[in-house]
């Protein structure tokens, strides 16, 4: 069913938390966030005429967001000198005592596709759906997921 641009924006606004989540998980530089938000909304707008409604809009938007962020040309991350990195780590462990913060840091250290797999899993997607979104086989997804969860739990316990 065709929707106007205004209706589409309203629909996106209702689900914008999903876009924020994708951006917060993948973007390091605040200046990139605006561009990426626009890119995701633009790509969603372009793909929306072929959205068949088989999945929920939020699920569909999540997929568009993740795919867009993986192909988004980000500004290079500023390289922190080695000596500064050590002091930064100390500062982080002092302030990021909360488990959720530690999980955030741990997830952001994962490779991008692994990050995608674990966030989809944590958001309640089944392995089959994750496989469909990422293009992996169901078995490969299960294996990777198991490995990623192990890594995360080890990191969180080490904190």
């Amino acid at each position: 069913m065709p929707v106007s641009e205004k209706e589409f924006i309203a629909l996106v606004n209702e689900n914008r938390g999903i876009i924020y989540k994708v951006i917060r998980l993948y973007i390091n530089q605040e200046e990139d966030t605006r561009d990426l938000y626009q890119e995701i909304v633009f790509q969603a707008w372009k793909s929306y005429p072929r959205f068949d409604g088989r999945s929920k809009f939020s699920t569909w938007l999540y997929r568009v967001g993740l795919n867009t962020v993986l192909t988004f040309k980000r500004k290079p991350v500023v390289v922190i000198p080695h000596e500064d990195l050590a002091s930064l780590h100390v500062a982080q462990t002092k302030t990021n005592t909360d488990e959720s913060e530690a999980l955030y840091v741990a997830i952001r250290q994962l490779p991008e596709v692994d990050r995608m797999i674990i966030t989809l899993h944590l958001d309640g997607y089944e392995n089959e759906e994750i496989a469909e979104i990422t293009g992996l086989t169901k078995n490969n997804t299960a294996v990777k997921l198991h490995r990623i969860k192990d890594i995360l739990i080890k990191k969180l316990k080490a904190e």
């Binding site: 924006i9 707008w45 569909w60 993986l70 192909t71 040309k73 959720s100 596709v113 739990i153």
Partner: protein, 199 residues
């Protein structure tokens, strides 16, 4: 440890914090595939311009043989138009961010490469034809082309023109292709490689 519980907390506290830029849809994209689409649109624009130029030249050409040459060029450019248009349509229909990303990008990359390769190869036959057309058009401004072609030196000049212009035009076309498509295709190749290496 229940990761899902920790995740829920994280979501409330950090992940869904607003970012700048919500609101309208800005209809521009920095995506390499979108840049490819723009390049193909521009190529189509140039093809239309050339078609118009050849039509005009065919009308003003004083001699029938030159008119035929211009019509030949118009036919060649119709083929170019179709080739570019088909590739553009393929990219536009394939480029969806709600599909399997690796397959989508790979399909666009392969199809674009194939189209550009076809155009590069066919150009090697087109440039001699274009050089001949230009040569005839130039001659027709002052003399009767059919009569002039009986002169051996005119043929030698034509062959030399073709021999010089064909590789030169090919070189220029390859450089233009690199500017218009090359960097975006490179970005796509890198993306596909990155996605494949992570999966």
């Amino acid at each position: 440890m229940d990761l899902k519980e920790v995740w829920k907390k994280l979501e409330q506290e950090k992940l869904t914090q607003p970012v700048a830029g919500a609101g309208e849809i800005y209809k521009t994209s920095k995506h390499p595939v979108q840049k490819l689409i723009n390049s193909f649109k521009m190529a189509l624009g140039f093809v239309v311009l050339f078609e118009l130029a050849f039509t005009y030249l065919a009308i003003i050409a004083p001699q029938p043989v030159v008119k035929v040459a211009m019509v030949l060029m118009m036919i060649v450019y119709i083929f170019y138009f179709v080739a570019n248009y088909k590739t553009l349509q393929h990219i536009k229909t394939t480029f969806r961010m709600d599909q399997n990303l690796t397959h989508t990008l790979q399909s666009i990359y392969d199809n674009t490469q194939q189209s550009l390769k076809f155009q590069r190869r066919s150009a090697l036959f087109i440039y001699p034809l274009a050089a001949t057309c230009g040569f005839l058009f130039g001659l027709s401004m002052e003399r009767n082309v059919v009569e002039v072609l009986n002169n051996r030196w005119v043929w030698i000049s034509l062959v030399i023109s073709i021999a010089v212009l064909t590789p030169l035009s090919y070189f220029v076309a390859v450089q233009l292709e690199r500017i218009s498509y090359g960097r975006y295709l490179n970005q796509l190749r890198t993306l596909i490689h990155q996605l494949n290496s992570q999966t």
